[in-house]
């Protein structure tokens, strides 16, 4: 658990997690990790967390930290948008950073951390397409949120790009991009969505279905639901694998490492750490931070993938291309392989 009773002295960075708690092996965990990283860099930084059991806890949790004299308060997720904005307006001197959310109303003392995950997901899609034995890969989401769909859209783009470049016919199941580009404001698309971020059973069943349809790699964008995919891969046996999201699967979940071939990471840790350090250095500025491949705000991390050195080289090249903007991550730019 968190640290011991607060002392107003010294610099204090605090995080209010949403109902997922700091053990969700997803962005609550990553955000907390970001605080720890910051403490690594500068041990004089005190850190603390509060997890919320309900939306009604957000406001009081934030207030509790204000009373404890936290210098910067990190909040996680769109649900805390309202509470954060309210608190921010009530106390303009209090610094806030909110993870993975585009605030409805901007405020000077709130830094919104957002991530163009489709860039790294593009690489993930390319990797999976290239390493798939069956020529079928699949993805599914927790709920059809733009933050979720953005991963899937990038993933599909990556697969299609692979097919186009290598005249391959790798199919991708589970997500069909809608017309138009995918932005954090709006990322159109339809496909398989579990309906929540917790029901492992459903995740396992959908994954089993995908496997039954010939897929051998699955890319779940659904928080702990993804663990169901891992279970399914274990049962389906060798040759089946999972590409993980948000935070490195082999770190958050060592035991399962061999089932993860890679992780499309959302750079929550570095961005949160950066926010804290800037505040510590007194250089904090409100506004929006966009995580990209370029600034490490999103990245493809290899786990147990069988990818060859040459493939990794190609992917490195693609990374450059995306950073420079020469390669688009919009799936609609590439012809898809019809199912």
């Amino acid at each position: 658990g968190g640290s011991t009773i607060a002392s107003a002295a010294g610099f204090k960075a605090c995080i209010v997690t949403d109902t997922g708690g700091i053990n969700d092996k997803s962005f609550n965990a990553s955000a907390y990790q970001g605080l720890k990283d910051a403490k690594m860099v500068d041990p004089s930084i005190e850190i603390d967390y509060l997890s919320s059991l309900a939306e009604t806890d957000y406001a009081p949790n934030i207030r509790a930290f204000e009373h404890q004299g936290c210098n910067i308060i990190i909040t996680v997720g769109f649900l805390m948008d309202a509470a954060t904005t309210a608190a921010a307006n009530a106390d303009p001197k209090q610094k806030f950073a909110i993870v993975d959310d585009a605030p409805m109303t901007k405020s000077k003392n709130v830094l919104a951390l957002q991530y163009n995950t489709n860039q790294a997901a593009f690489l993930g899609g390319y990797l999976d397409a290239a390493t798939s034995k069956t020529g079928v890969v699949a993805t599914y989401g927790g709920m059809n949120f733009s933050t979720v769909a953005m991963y899937e859209s990038g993933f599909v783009a990556g697969v299609r790009y692979y097919d186009m470049k290598n005249h391959a016919k790798v199919k991708v199941l589970g997500f069909t991009p809608g017309a138009g580009a995918c932005t954090l404001a709006n990322c159109p698309g339809t496909g398989t969505f579990i309906g929540n971020f917790t029901d492992q059973t459903a995740g396992k069943q959908d994954t089993a279905t995908f496997f039954a349809q010939g897929a051998d790699i699955v890319f779940p964008v659904a928080g702990s639901v993804g663990l169901g995919s891992v279970a399914a891969a274990q049962q389906a046996g060798a040759g089946h694998s999972v590409t993980w999201v948000d935070s490195n699967g082999c770190v958050s979940d060592k035991a399962q490492c061999k089932w993860f071939n890679a992780t499309v990471a959302k750079g929550v840790e570095p961005s949160v750490a950066a926010a804290v350090e800037s505040a510590f250095a007194g250089k904090f500025k409100g506004g929006t931070y966009y995580g990209t491949l370029a600034n490490g705000g999103t990245a493809l991390e290899y786990n147990s993938t069988t990818a060859s050195a040459s493939l990794k080289a190609t992917i490195a090249a693609l990374t450059k291309g995306i950073e420079s903007g020469n390669i688009s991550v919009n799936p609609n730019r590439y012809p898809g392989t019809p199912n």
Binding site: G1, G21, I22, N23, S51, Y140, K171, L173, G174, T176, T190, G191, T192, F193, I194, G195, T198, D199, Q200, T201, A202, K204, Q205, D206, A208, T209, F210, F211, A212, Q213, S224, L227, G228, V230, A231, Q234, Q235, A236, G237, A238, G239, D253, K254, A255, Q256, N339
Partner: protein, 430 residues
């Protein structure tokens, strides 16, 4: 007297009113299938059945190709089939109309799948894999079997065990810890069963010794386990992640049998938790209805005073059964964990309560519980499976299906099936 007996058996037909309602609903389903899924789809549309199992390593020597059928024709046939079931209920008023209802809803879901995977059509997936579907359902069905079997043991002795969900959670939690440490599912199973038994004892202790309201105690045990497991998850599993490695049990195929097409991979290539469940069902079934033990248990559940008057120790019998029931439910939790992997707070998502419904559906008989579990398992799996076909129904609505079916079944049944007479009634030693 013998005359009366005859009359009674005659009288056991269901009352008109309700059978007709059920029949109406079934026929409605059938019409919907025939019209929407059948005639609704274009005449050219085709749907595919495939049979090859997912796990290629245990792939069978056989290879069944895909079965391609005309969507419209096939669904019309299925629709007519359902309608037939409905009319049978209407006319014959059979004793188990809800069984017909269960079958109809399964057929309905299959028809829906066929319709969803039709080509040309919106779905990316042009086929339904029967083997995978059945195999997946068996996973859930197994857990439900453990749950409802636990229910049978408790309620036949006259104690309502509504805490099954809690025993699932407890079993899953400790099972997951033990297996993570010892890497042996045997120990995990023992730990889970032990903890389940402990919860069973708690229920028995309060319900029998202190005559507390069994339903209340049961529900509170569930909430207690929910909060306790979530608490321990944060206090123990977070700091020590290798207490929750979440390795799943491997399947062990039964030689030869697992080579049978379709059935092989579904029934004879399972984890030993599944085989154990089947064995337990057979065992309890035999015990309850053939042996002295069973006769006495049922007497206690039907008329405890009478049992006591012939020197049967009601309290002891109930303790024994409720504790056994708890152990079985705990096992169920481990079995669940063994197929789902890593423990998450509240990840049994109400299966324990569905198991109760299965128990009622199965008329407090182990054999009935099996049938019910399979029906519920299938419906739950199909409902989830739907999400991978882009059906024009939002996933939230689809998610409701299994629970809606459960309610329908329970609503259709209670008052017609007869629970043990003293079920849930505390016994005061005169």
């Amino acid at each position: 007297m013998s005359v009366e007996t005859v009359e009674v058996t005659k009288a056991l037909k269901q009352p008109h009113g309700r059978s007709r309602v059920i029949a109406g609903i079934i026929v409605g389903l059938g019409l919907f299938v025939a019209l929407v899924f059948g005639l609704g789809s274009s005449g050219r549309a085709k749907s595919q059945f495939t049979f090859s199992p997912v796990n290629l390593s245990s792939n069978a020597p056989w290879h069944l190709g895909a079965l391609t059928v005309n969507t419209r024709g096939w669904n019309v046939v299925l629709g007519v089939l359902i309608i037939a079931l409905g009319t049978e209920v209407w006319v014959r008023r059979p004793r188990a109309p809800m069984l017909r209802f269960g079958l109809s809803s399964i057929i309905f879901l299959f028809a829906l799948l066929f319709w969803a995977c039709r080509t040309p059509g919106p779905s990316q997936i042009p086929f339904v894999n029967l083997t995978a579907t059945l195999a997946g359902s068996v996973g859930i069905a197994m857990v439900l079997m453990y749950g409802s079997l636990s229910g049978v043991l408790c309620e036949r002795a006259g104690v309502v065990n509504i805490a099954i969900e809690g025993q699932f959670l407890g079993g899953a939690f400790f099972g997951s810890m033990v297996v993570s440490v010892t890497n042996s599912f045997l120990y995990a199973a023992l730990a889970g069963a032990l903890f389940g038994a402990l919860l069973g004892w708690l229920l028995a202790f309060l319900a029998i010794r202190y005559m507390s309201d069994q339903v209340i105690v049961g529900v509170v045990i569930v909430t207690m386990m929910a909060s306790l497991s979530s608490y321990l998850n944060l206090q123990v599993l977070t700091p020590y992640p290798n207490f929750n490695l979440g390795n799943t049990a491997s399947t062990t195929g039964i030689p030869l049998l697992d080579k049978i097409p379709v059935l092989g991979p579904v029934l004879f290539n399972e984890t030993w938790f599944f085989y154990l469940a089947v064995a337990l069902v057979a065992l309890v079934s035999f015990g309850l209805f053939k042996t002295r033990w069973g006769l006495r248990v049922r007497a206690v559940g039907e008329h405890p005073k009478a049992a006591e008057s012939v020197g049967i120790n009601v309290a002891r019998t109930r303790y024994r059964n409720v504790i056994m029931g708890g152990a079985v439910a705990g096992l169920g939790g481990v079995a669940f964990m063994a197929t789902q992997g890593q423990f998450q707070p509240g990840y049994t998502s109400g299966l324990g309560y569905v198991a109760l419904a299965a128990l009622i559906f199965g008329r407090w008989k182990p054999s009935g519980a099996v049938v019910a579990s399979i029906l519920f398992g299938l419906s739950a799996f199909l409902a989830n499976g739907l999400q991978s076909y882009s059906v024009p129904v939002s996933s939230e609505i689809i998610g409701m299906f299994p629970y809606i079916i459960t309610i329908a079944v329970v609503a259709g049944l209670i008052g017609r099936v007869r629970p043990p007479a003293a079920d849930g009634v505390p016994f005061k030693r005169s």
